[in-house]
Symmetry: C2
DNA sequence: GTCTATATCGGGATAGAC
DNA sequence: GTCTATCCCGATATAGAC
């Protein structure tokens, strides 16, 4: 019931959002364990003491980061559906992330794959939530392959595309080799063209 | 010039080897940063103080672990060459690691891929040495594709197999799904059969 | 809501006795 | 070569003033 809230330079929600955005980036660049409270606080321009007003534990930040990534992913996929009319075009759009986000991926790998791998080694309780992020892409890809008309193979096709993207990101990160990534994307696109063709010629 | 050395219950070299073996396993299971001196010392049954007699810094242990993995990898590849007479058979053997080492990979991912990804995020000085481990596989695969007779595509084929293996390992680790892994291995094997066939029908 | 100060803990690394 | 004891630092987390 306090009117002064609207006059504050930053509301709690705004500060929280800035913290999550900074933590998201730092967790991506340095990994979850290697990111400290001090790092995040410094990135937002906050003292460590005040930090605990917004997040009590490190795991709480991780939960918030994963939730933010989920929301961001859903928004991105919805945007792609708007921009790409055909299901094959949407799958291609996904396959090309590894090119579009090339600079980041070369330095830090895939945000999803590297987080999942780290949480697995830590046997961290938030693993299921990171997996939900994977599921978000898998389900969306499966829907596209359903629309293409691959029948029972929709999920296998979706997983195949995910395997490609994770492998390409890992090797892009290891070697920093643009040419290889483009070669692999081309290979997946020709596979996709074959899948689309096979589906369209069926009765 | 001391004769007593040969009478010691453990020589320095033996103890060192046991430390490296324990560190190798722990780095794989928990990640490099999450593995402490105390963890390794406890695994070998050594006090932390004595530990520093063998390794002065954590990075020295990492170097030793990577070197041990290099030696192990070379021995494994040589063994495969002995057991598999054809180059295609050798590539298949590589592709099936993700099945043969299924239990470990589901829990901890690919030892090579996860280490490389972690060192990239840490911007660790040992990154080039981890990359040499990747190169070891890449070169060996390229030699097999050269023998198959794919001409200028040998390196691209080698990278394609590496991309597959890294992607399959990442998703095996994320989902713990055996069926998906076998499906992906089958997909790569049919790709490989196509490559072999195309090469053999050329003049 | 933001700050400073502080408690507490774990890990890397060293010194020196045996 | 192995041990115990210790130093030092960074990180999580808390208390309490403003």
């Amino acid at each position: 019931m306090s009117y002064s809230v609207v006059m504050a330079s930053h509301t709690a929600g705004e500060t929280r959002a800035r913290i999550v955005a900074a933590a998201d980036r730092l967790v991506y660049e340095r990994g979850f364990e290697h990111t400290s409270f001090a790092d995040v606080a410094a990135a937002v321009g906050l003292s460590r003491g005040n930090f605990y007003y917004h997040f009590r534990t490190k795991d709480e930040i991780l939960d918030a980061v994963i939730e933010a990534r989920l929301a961001g992913t859903r928004a991105m996929l919805a945007e792609w559906e708007r921009q790409e009319p055909t299901p094959a075009g949407r799958v291609r759009r996904f396959a090309r992330i590894v090119i579009a986000n090339g600079p980041d991926i070369r330095l830090y790998g895939c945000p999803l794959g590297t987080l999942t791998a780290e949480l697995a080694k830590l046997r961290h309780p938030a693993r299921p939530q990171a997996l939900a992020l994977f599921e978000c892409f898998r389900t969306w890809l499966r829907e596209q392959f359903d629309a293409i008309g691959v029948g029972d193979n929709a999920d296998a096709c979706a997983m195949h595309v995910l395997v490609f993207s994770q492998g390409a990101a890992t090797l892009s990160n290891a070697y920093g080799d643009d040419a290889m990534v483009e070669c692999e994307v081309a290979s997946l696109e020709s596979w996709l063209a074959g899948v689309v063709h096979e589906s369209s010629v069926r009765p």
